[in-house]
Symmetry: C2
Subunit: 562 residues, 2 copies
C-alpha cells in the first residue's frame, strides 16, 4: 500500500479529478442515480486479489501499534471489541488534544492558499485511494461494527465514499460561486466612474471535529470530514472507541495524500480517546469551530448546549415509523418490511421502530386483514426470511453493543411479544452475537413503550384507531421524538396526500408503498437527502447547501484602480 | 397609495420580475457594480412630485393610528422621539405575540405551496413598491434615525432595497438548485433497474423574527426579512422602538402585495413592543425558528444564549480600525478619513473608531509626519470639512440616542482631546441634536479607552510602536472585540500583504488606501460582503450562501415507478 514519493500538486490533482467532480456537481443538481464508486465487490473492478489483500491488511494490524506520526503522542490505546468475537487488539496513538489543535492551526494557511480547486483535487484523490482500499475498509467496518460482509462493503465502502464526494461537490459548488476577484465600476454621471478592484478570499472557519458512531464509522464520518476539509478547515476525527480502525485507515490515507501533495498532513488527524471527558474537552476548545456528531441524544444535546463556540451538525436518536393503511401488494409489503427490520439487526438510524396499523385492520389484495393478522403475518415473513442461517447471519450481522443486547433482553416488558428474538449461531464466527428481531404489539396509548428510541432489532406494531389517526400519530412522533424516515402504505391517494402533508409539517423523508428492492432504511448518495434537519433526530441534512455553506467565510479586500 | 384590487398571481409576479431576478443572480455571481434601484433622488426617475408626496405621506401619519389590520391587537403605542426634534406621535398597533405567531403559522402552507418562483415574484413586487415609495421611506428614516436627508434616501431607500433583493437572489439561487422532482434509476445488472420517482419539497423552517436597530431601520432589516420570506417563512418584524415608521410602512406594503396576490397578509406582521420582556418572550417562543438581529452586544448575546430554538443571525458591536503606516496621498487620505468620521456622526456600524499610527510618525508625499502632526492634521481636516454649517448638518445628521449624547459628553475622559465635539445648529430643525466628532489621542496601552465600542462620533488616534505592531494590534482588536471594517494606508506591499493576512486570520473586510470617493464605512449591495461572520462583531454576512441556506429544508418523498 505504499505510494511513490513523487509529488503531485493540488492543481494536478484537480486536473486529474476534474471530470469526476463536475459529474458529481451535475449529480447533486439532478439528484438521480449516479456514483463513481462501484458498489459490487467485483474482482474485475477492485482487482483479483483485492478481497484477500484487504483482509490481510486488516489482520496485519491486530495487536500492533497503528502508527500515524501525529504530534503530541502520550501513549497507545486498544479499546475495540469485535461483535464477531474476533480479537483485534489494535493500538492507536493517544495524542494530546492541544497538540492536535496547534498542528491543525499551523496547517491551515497552506490549505487556504491552494484554493477551492486545489482542496477539491486533494479530497477527490483521498476518496479515490479510499475507494481502491474498499475491501480493507470493509473488513475493518465489519469486524468493528458487526455489520454483515456485504453491507460492510457497500455502506462502509462505496456508499460512504459517495457521501464524502457528495459533500465535496456541495462545498465546491458554493466556493466556486464566489468570484476570486472583481472590478466594481460605479457610474458617477458626468464624472469619471468610481472604480475598485476587489478580492474575495475563502477562509475556513477553523478546526473541525468529526465525532463518529459505533455502527457506521465511515458512512456517518465522511460527510462531515470532507465537507469541512473541502471548505478549508483542518479536521480532527474522533471515532467511536469501538470502531476506530476504519477511521484510522481513512486518516492514514488522507495524511499520505496530503504529504505527497506537499501539504501538511496534520490537516487530518485521529483523536483516539477512551474517556468521554477527553472528547468533551476537545469539543469545547475555543479553536474548534464545527462539530459533526452522530450518536445518542444525551451526548449530542450536551454538545449543542456546551460547545457554543462551534456550529454543531448532529444526527441523534429518533423513532422512525411506518403507517400501514391499506395495500394492493400485501405479501411484497411484508417482505419489504421484514427485510427492513432484519437488515443489520435494526442497528441503522433509519430502521423502522413503530409500525402503525388501524385497530380495524386493513384492506389488501389478499382480502381484509385484521390487526392481529398483520402482526402474525409480519412475524411469519421475518421468520421465513431468516429460515436459512446463512442468509440470516449475512443480513443480520452481529449486535454491536452490549447495551443493545440488554435492550433486546428487556424488550418483552414493553409489549405483547409477536415474534421473540432468538440467538443465531454464526458458521464462521462462533463468538458472534447474532440476534433476530423482536416484534411487539402494543396500543397507541402505550406511548412509553414505543415512543422512545430503542436502538436495535426491536419493533412495535402499534394499534391505532384508524388511518387518519395513524397519520396524525406519525406526525406527532416525528415532531416530538424525531425520525430520519417514515413510510406509508396506502392505496388511497387522499391518505398518501395527508401523509405527505404530515411529512412537510414534521420535516421527515417519506417512502411510499415500498414493495420492491428499495427499503425505507436505505438512503442513496447524490439522490436521497439523509435527514431533513427539521425534527429532533437531526439538525442537518446529508447533504444540502446548508451542510456546507456555513463552514467557510468570504474575506474581502478592495482598493481603487484606474 | 391605494392599489387596484385586481389580483395578480404569484406566477404572474414571477414573470413580471423574472428579468430583474436573473440579473440579480448574475450580479451575485459577478459581485461587480449593479442595481435596479437608482440611488439618486431624481424627479425624472421617481416622479416630479415624489419628494413632496413622500414628505406629506409621512406627515399624514403624525399623531394618527397606523392601521395594519393585524390579529390580536390589544392597544396602540407611540414611542418614537425624533432626533430632529419633530413631534411624531404615530401610534402603532400592539399585538399579542401568540396571535401573530398563530396567524403566521396559518399562513405558511399557502406560502410553501407557491414555490420558490412564486415567492421570489412576490418579494420582488414588494421591493418594487417599496422602491417607488423611497421618498416616503427616506423621510421616515430621516426623522426617526437622525440621518441626513441624502443618506436617509440612499441608505434607507435604494441601498436597503439592494440588500433585500440581494438576499432574495441568494435564496432563489439555492432553492432553484433543488430539483422539484427526479427519477432515480439504478442498474441491477441483468435484472430490470430499480426505478423510483422522488419529489423534493422546499419547506421553510418556521416563523422568522427580524429585530431592527435604531439607526438603519430598513438597511439592516431588509436582508433578514427578505431572506426569510423568500425561503418560505412568515416574518414578524420587530423594529427598534424609536424607528418604527420605516418598518411599519414596509410591513404595510408587504401585506398589500400579499393580499393582492391572493395570499395571507399575516405572512408579514409588525411587532411593536415598548418592553424588552415582550421581545424576549417572542424571541424564545418555540415556534420562532430564526432571528435576525442588529444591535448591541448585551441583547444580542442574550438572544444567542436564550433563543436556542432559533438560528440567530446577529450583527453586534465592534471596534473598527484603520492602520496608517505610510501614504503617498496624505491630504486625500485625511479627507477620506474625515468624511468617514463625520458621516452620520459615526453612528454607522462600519465607522472607524480606532486609527492606529506609529509613534515615530509616517512617511508621506508631504514629507515625514509625526504622530502629533497626523493627529492635528486629521482634526484640521474634519474642521475644514465641517466649516460650512449646511454641509455639516447634511453630512452629520442628528444624534439618534441620548446614550450617544452621553458618550460624547464623557469621551474626553478617555484620552487627550485632539478635536472637541461641538453642537451645531440646524437651520431647518431647531430641535436637532447635531454634534461634530470628538477625536482623542491615546497610547496603545490604554486599551480600556479605545478597545470597546463607543458608538457615535468618537474616534481614537492610537499611538503604536510601529507599522508591524499596528497590524498585529488591528488583528487582535478584531479577534477579541470584533469589527465590520478595517483599513490600511501603506505604500509598502509587504505591509499591505501583512494586513491582508491579518484580515484573513481575524475575518474582517479590508479597505486599502482609500483616498477617493469610496469610504471604509460604505458597503455596496451585490458587491461588498457586509460583515464576514467570523469575528465577534457579526456571526453572519450580508449576503452569502450561509445567510440563506439554513432558512429552509428539503423534504423528500419517493415511490416506485415502472
Amino acid at each position: 500500500m505504499s505510494h511513490a514519493a513523487s509529488t503531485t500538486t493540488p492543481a494536478q490533482l484537480f486536473d486529474k479529478h476534474h471530470a469526476t467532480l463536475e459529474a458529481a456537481v451535475q449529480a447533486i443538481h439532478a439528484r438521480g442515480y449516479w456514483t463513481p464508486y462501484p458498489e459490487m465487490p467485483s474482482p474485475k473492478v477492485y482487482g483479483e486479489t483485492a478481497q484477500e489483500d484487504g483482509r490481510r491488511a486488516v489482520e496485519a494490524t491486530f495487536g500492533q501499534d497503528f502508527e500515524l506520526d501525529q504530534p503530541g503522542r502520550s501513549g497507545w490505546m486498544a479499546t475495540e471489541r469485535s461483535p464477531y468475537g474476533v480479537e483485534l487488539g489494535v493500538r492507536y496513538p493517544v495524542c494530546d488534544a492541544d497538540a492536535l489543535i496547534a498542528a491543525a492551526h499551523a496547517a491551515m494557511p497552506g490549505w487556504q492558499r491552494i484554493g477551492a480547486q486545489g482542496r477539491a483535487g486533494v479530497c477527490l484523490e483521498i476518496l479515490e485511494r479510499i475507494n481502491k482500499r474498499s475491501f480493507e475498509i470493509a473488513h475493518a467496518v465489519m469486524l468493528t461494527t458487526g455489520q454483515g460482509w456485504m453491507m460492510a462493503f457497500q455502506a462502509g465502502g462505496p456508499h460512504a465514499q459517495d457521501r464524502g464526494l457528495e459533500a465535496v461537490a456541495y462545498a465546491y459548488r458554493e466556493m466556486k460561486f464566489v468570484p476570486h476577484e472583481t472590478v466594481w465600476e460605479k457610474p458617477q454621471g458626468k464624472n469619471p466612474p468610481l472604480k475598485m478592484k476587489k478580492h474575495f478570499e475563502i477562509v475556513g472557519r477553523g478546526v473541525a471535529l468529526v465525532i463518529g458512531c459505533g455502527t457506521f464509522p465511515t458512512w456517518n464520518t465522511y460527510p462531515g470530514l470532507f465537507a469541512a476539509l473541502a471548505t478549508g478547515n483542518p479536521v480532527i476525527v474522533k471515532p467511536h472507541q469501538n470502531a476506530i480502525l476504519p477511521a484510522a485507515i481513512t486518516v492514514r490515507i488522507a495524511r499520505e495524500v496530503l504529504a505527497e501533495a506537499g501539504l501538511d498532513p496534520n490537516l487530518v488527524t485521529l483523536a483516539a480517546f477512551d474517556k468521554r471527558e477527553a472528547t468533551q474537552a476537545l469539543a469545547t476548545h475555543p479553536a474548534v469551530k464545527s462539530i459533526d456528531f452522530t450518536g445518542g441524544n444525551s451526548f449530542g444535546q450536551w454538545l449543542i448546549s456546551n460547545a457554543k463556540q462551534a456550529q454543531v451538525y448532529a444526527e441523534l436518536a429518533g423513532v422512525n415509523n411506518v403507517v400501514i393503511e391499506s395495500t394492493d401488494q400485501y405479501k411484497a409489503m411484508l417482505r419489504n418490511l421484514a427485510f427492513t427490520l432484519c437488515l443489520y439487526s435494526g442497528q441503522m438510524c433509519t430502521t423502522t421502530q413503530a409500525i402503525l396499523v388501524p385497530a380495524g385492520g386493513i384492506a389488501t389484495d389478499q382480502g381484509h386483514k385484521s390487526y392481529d393478522e398483520v402482526c402474525a403475518d409480519l412475524a411469519a415473513s421475518i421468520d421465513k426470511f431468516l429460515a436459512d442461517p446463512a442468509v440470516a447471519t449475512a443480513v443480520l450481522g452481529a449486535i454491536q453493543s452490549p447495551d443493545t443486547l440488554a435492550r433486546i433482553a428487556e424488550a418483552p416488558e414493553h409489549g405483547r411479544v409477536v415474534l421473540a428474538s432468538r440467538k443465531i449461531e454464526h458458521a464462521e464466527f462462533p463468538g458472534a452475537e447474532v440476534r433476530s428481531p423482536v416484534l411487539l404489539a402494543c396500543d397507541a396509548a402505550d406511548e412509553k413503550a414505543y415512543m422512545e428510541e430503542r436502538f436495535g432489532p426491536i419493533a412495535f406494531i402499534v394499534k391505532v384507531a384508524d388511518g387518519a389517526a395513524a397519520v396524525a400519530l406519525s406526525e406527532r412522533i416525528v415532531r416530538e421524538h424525531g425520525a430520519l424516515t417514515v413510510g406509508i402504505y396506502s392505496t388511497r391517494a387522499e391518505v398518501v396526500d395527508a401523509m405527505t402533508e404530515a411529512s412537510w409539517h414534521a420535516g421527515v423523508a417519506l417512502s411510499i408503498n415500498l414493495t420492491g428492492g428499495v427499503f425505507v432504511n436505505q438512503s442513496a448518495g447524490f439522490s436521497d437527502y439523509h435527514g431533513v434537519g427539521m425534527n429532533p433526530a437531526a439538525n442537518a441534512s446529508l447533504s444540502d447547501s446548508a451542510f456546507v455553506a456555513n463552514r467557510f467565510r468570504v474575506v474581502q479586500r478592495r482598493y481603487h484602480v484606474e
